[in-house]
């Protein structure tokens, strides 16, 4: 087993081609996510889009749900919204149960 020390950096923002590589998806699919409001880039046209924080992890989840469960973009958008709502409620429940 080889041990290597490597440089690491925190991902602040990804461009459209970066996000496509990251998700192993093509541009059409990422643009569809933007059109459905699943992810929200900064910048006016797709050439200078920057995807930050929450958009990156949402895109990754969307890709996995699409690939693993065969859910289309509208379905993925709904699932992600509901999951976020559920997580917020779980956090709230945990807080209330702790009091």
């Amino acid at each position: 087993m080889k041990k290597t020390t490597i440089k690491s950096d925190v991902v602040d923002a990804l461009s459209l081609p970066d996000l496509c590589r990251f998700c192993q998806a093509d541009e059409t699919w990422v643009i569809e996510l933007v059109e459905h409001g699943v992810i929200d880039p900064m910048g006016s046209n797709s050439g200078d889009w920057r995807f930050i924080g929450a958009s990156i992890s949402r895109a990754k989840k969307a890709r996995r749900l699409n690939r693993d469960l065969g859910i289309n973009t509208a379905g993925v958008a709904l699932v992600l919204d509901l999951l976020e709502e559920r997580d917020a409620m779980m956090r709230r429940l945990a807080r209330l149960e702790a009091i």
Partner: protein, 314 residues
């Protein structure tokens, strides 16, 4: 290597139809998908379900697998497929789309001589650079305040000179920078899948380990802060430990249990830093001495206080 009972994994009978298998797989995949079910064991179950379906959906693989029969009765030993078990079957070799391989059992039965799995093959984008791979790294909330060094173990399939696929272990030292928060990604350039024009990147998603005191929400931290009845009544300074060091917190006079105090900028570091929200929790001392008893009796006699007045009735 352990024998895997793929029928058991999907919860179907050995003579289940293709439709039944597909239905059981879809149900299991939905139930255990790691993005939907955050239980610790759901990820492993999801992988098992996928692996089982990968074999049972393919008539030739399924027939070959059935030929192996049931789990050997001696059970406890390491499983070895009988020699020539797959003669007469021809199945296209392939595997999961994810970055990790399937179990050793699957690998040894169905993937000898095949190339690495689909996910490692690259996308053909960026001119033959290897694909990006993904992983997770769990850190404590304290690590996020200070930064931390971690050693990761990675397993990835590697094709040997004679065409056999083996799982290779790699160790990587990773520096987790100060100020990362849950759901952010750390990029390790060039540590993804190899490709003709350089390797892809490895991305690690940061997850916080459950903490006995703090409940994170973005960069904010929530906790319960126990105070005494007299601190609540009289107000004053209390010292509160936080992951970033001790801070003074001013309790207002007549503080209520459940009242929320905000410590601005004392949450997880960043631009801007998060806040800490402390929920006050009034804790009564256990009355054990005569003096303490006398105190409470004096309060009972002298203080006209009925906390149940709002409940109505008489």
């Amino acid at each position: 290597m352990d024998f895997k009972d793929y029928y058991k994994v999907l919860g179907v009978a050995r003579d289940a139809s293709d439709d039944e298998i597909k239905k059981a797989f879809r149900k299991g995949a939905r139930k255990y998908h790691p993005d939907i079910n955050s239980d610790a064991e759901s990820e492993a179950k999801f992988k098992d379900v996928n692996e089982a379906y990968e074999v049972l959906k393919d008539p030739e693989r399924r027939a070959a697998y059935d030929q192996l029969g049931q789990e050997p009765p001696q059970g406890q030993g390491r499983y070895q497929p009988p020699p020539g078990w797959d003669s007469g079957f021809s199945f296209s070799e392939g595997g999961p789309e994810s970055d990790e391989g399937f179990s050793d059992f699957f690998e040894s039965l169905f993937r000898r001589g095949a190339g690495p799995s689909g996910g490692m093959g690259g996308m053909g984008m960026g001119g033959g650079r290897g694909a990006d791979s993904h992983g997770r790294i769990e850190i404590s909330i304290e690590d996020a305040y200070r930064g931390a060094d971690r050693t990761l173990s990675l397993r990835s399939p590697v094709v040997g000179p004679n065409g056999t696929v083996t799982m290779q272990d790699r160790k990587l030292s990773v520096h987790v920078p100060k100020g990362v928060s849950q759901g952010q990604h750390i990029r390790l350039a060039g540590q993804g899948a190899p490709g003709a024009q350089g390797a892809g990147d490895l991305f690690l998603e940061v997850a916080f380990a459950p903490h006995p005191i703090y409940r994170p929400d973005g960069r904010d931290l929530y906790l319960d802060l126990p105070i005494t009845p007299w601190e609540a009544a009289l107000g004053g300074q209390v010292v509160m430990p936080t992951p970033g060091g001790k801070v003074d917190l001013r309790i207002p006079k007549n503080a209520r249990s459940g009242q929320k105090m905000r410590l601005k900028g004392k949450g997880l570091p960043g631009k801007p830093p998060g806040n800490i929200y402390a929920t006050l929790k009034i804790v009564n001392p256990k009355v054990e001495t005569e003096e303490a008893r006398a105190f409470f009796e004096k309060m009972a006699k002298e203080m006209a206080f009925d906390p149940r007045v709002g409940l109505g009735g008489k």
